[in-house]
């Protein structure tokens, strides 16, 4: 004999599963996976399988979700290498550029991590050694003589940034979606010969 409430509780399981399937954000999907684990532990318990319910709650809800959050957090990231003096200068253009980058990659559920390097040679080496996915350096367009003229007339010097990306997909995303005129984008291929030995 099966009680009536058992049917209602079992019907919650496909409901939670459909919620999980139609979720696109990875972090939200993991939280809903935890909800699915709690509901399925209840279903297993009322059907009489107490050991399966305990395993589902401990492994399915706790361990798997925690490990997946750690994995998603460390893989869905774009590491941007910058020079240390950028941070000290506190330029408005740079802050704006970082905000723009963050807005573009947030659409793809990525996260921006900024890595600081002391000089431009270390920055270049980090890009080649695949420590960072992209680098951002400053380049000044004006000549020295025009700079002097500007300082006398009081017009500020226009600075632009040069962003180098070594991941093709990131470069395609940035090329189509980053609408910030103060930076130029560049794609560079990094040979992976260190993987061979």
């Amino acid at each position: 004999m099966i009680d009536n409430y058992v049917y209602v509780i079992v019907a919650l399981l496909p409901l939670a599963a459909l919620m999980l399937v139609f979720q696109v954000n990875p972090y939200n999907a993991l939280v809903i996976r935890a909800i699915l684990g709690a509901v399925s532990a209840l279903v297993y318990a009322i059907l009489g399988a107490a050991d399966v319910a305990l395993t589902e709650a401990l492994v399915g809800t706790m361990l798997a979700v925690t490990l997946y959050v750690v994995a998603v957090r460390s893989s869905l990231v774009m590491r941007l290498g910058i020079l240390k003096e950028f941070k000290i200068e506190k330029e408005s253009y740079f802050e704006e550029l970082i905000a723009n980058l963050r807005k573009v990659i947030n659409k793809y559920h990525l996260r921006l991590e900024i890595v600081e390097y002391s000089n431009s040679k270390a920055l270049e080496q980090a890009l080649m050694a695949k420590e960072v996915h992209a680098t951002c350096i400053k380049q000044e367009q004006e000549q020295v003589d025009t700079q002097n003229q500007n300082s006398t007339t009081g017009i500020d010097i226009r600075q632009t940034y040069h962003t180098t990306i070594r991941v093709r997909r990131l470069f395609e995303i940035m090329k189509t979606e980053l609408t910030f005129p103060e930076t130029t984008l560049d794609y560079v291929t990094v040979s992976n010969e260190e993987d061979k030995h």
Partner: protein, 83 residues
């Protein structure tokens, strides 16, 4: 006694709806906390109804360990949103 459980299932549908329609991650975590506690309490009620001690022990373990897992998950998500 069935009517108590039907009322608990209806109460369980409220956080499920909240988890479905709100896109904020912390609202979803809140709904998850609500669902995890409610399902464990439902298991306890069913174990008392059926006079089945093994389900009751499992429900208590899930109730206490589930809260610990929730805190761990909240710390991990908080770190990746800030950093």
């Amino acid at each position: 006694m069935d009517s108590i459980l039907i009322a608990m299932i209806l109460a369980l549908l409220i956080p499920i709806y909240e988890a479905w329609q709100d896109d904020n991650i912390w609202q979803k975590m809140l709904a998850f906390a609500s669902i995890a506690t409610k399902t464990s309490i439902m298991m306890l009620v069913i174990s008392v109804l059926r006079d089945d001690w093994s389900i009751g022990v499992v429900a208590v373990i899930i109730l206490s360990v589930g809260e610990a897992g929730l805190m761990l998950l909240a710390h991990l998500i908080k770190q990746c949103r800030l950093g």
